[in-house]
Symmetry: C2
């Protein structure tokens, strides 16, 4: 996992969700793929997906329960998890999380 | 003021200051110049500078008092202010602030 993306466009204005518990910046790669680089502060939140998403954990620790799952799975830096289209997942941020969300 | 930067490198991991009141992502432009894209949640903070900085307000409202100044000046989206090297400034974020910090 590289520590940075190269040759991307990045939107200056942030995306803020859940009253500031989640903050992200949107980027577009040279191949047109869209991603967000974000932070989730300690909290337990439910995210809804439109497009399928891959959540890559860059730093911190979280527990995740995907739609329909009964168990929580822990993810740490270097790990990732996938969410289907038009779905949702619960996430408990144990330590402030740095993530990259890959869409599509 | 363009809404985004093109052809930049962006670091995946965020910079978090003041217990999460300030969150930023670092970028490097094609010409080598370094900037951060960030958010400051409502608070009153004191920032110290190493290199000179230009703070560009992308969204929100803040009041700023530069080192040695006696008055606070209000800045809104599209405005900017400059801080010298090895100095400091007080900033009161009235509404959650989106900013770009230009170094050097």
């Amino acid at each position: 996992m590289s520590a940075q993306f190269e040759q991307v466009s990045v939107v200056k204005k942030s995306n803020i969700y859940f009253d500031g518990k989640c903050v992200s910046h949107s980027i577009v790669l040279a191949d047109g793929s869209k991603k967000t680089l974000g932070v989730i502060f300690p909290s337990t939140l439910t995210f809804n997906t439109g497009a399928p998403e891959t959540m890559e954990v860059v730093g911190g620790v979280c527990k995740v329960k995907l739609a329909g799952a009964s168990d929580w799975t822990t993810y740490t830096a270097g790990q990732q998890f996938q969410i289907g289209a038009n779905s949702h997942f619960d996430i408990e941020t144990v330590e402030t999380l740095d993530y990259v969300c890959h869409f599509g």
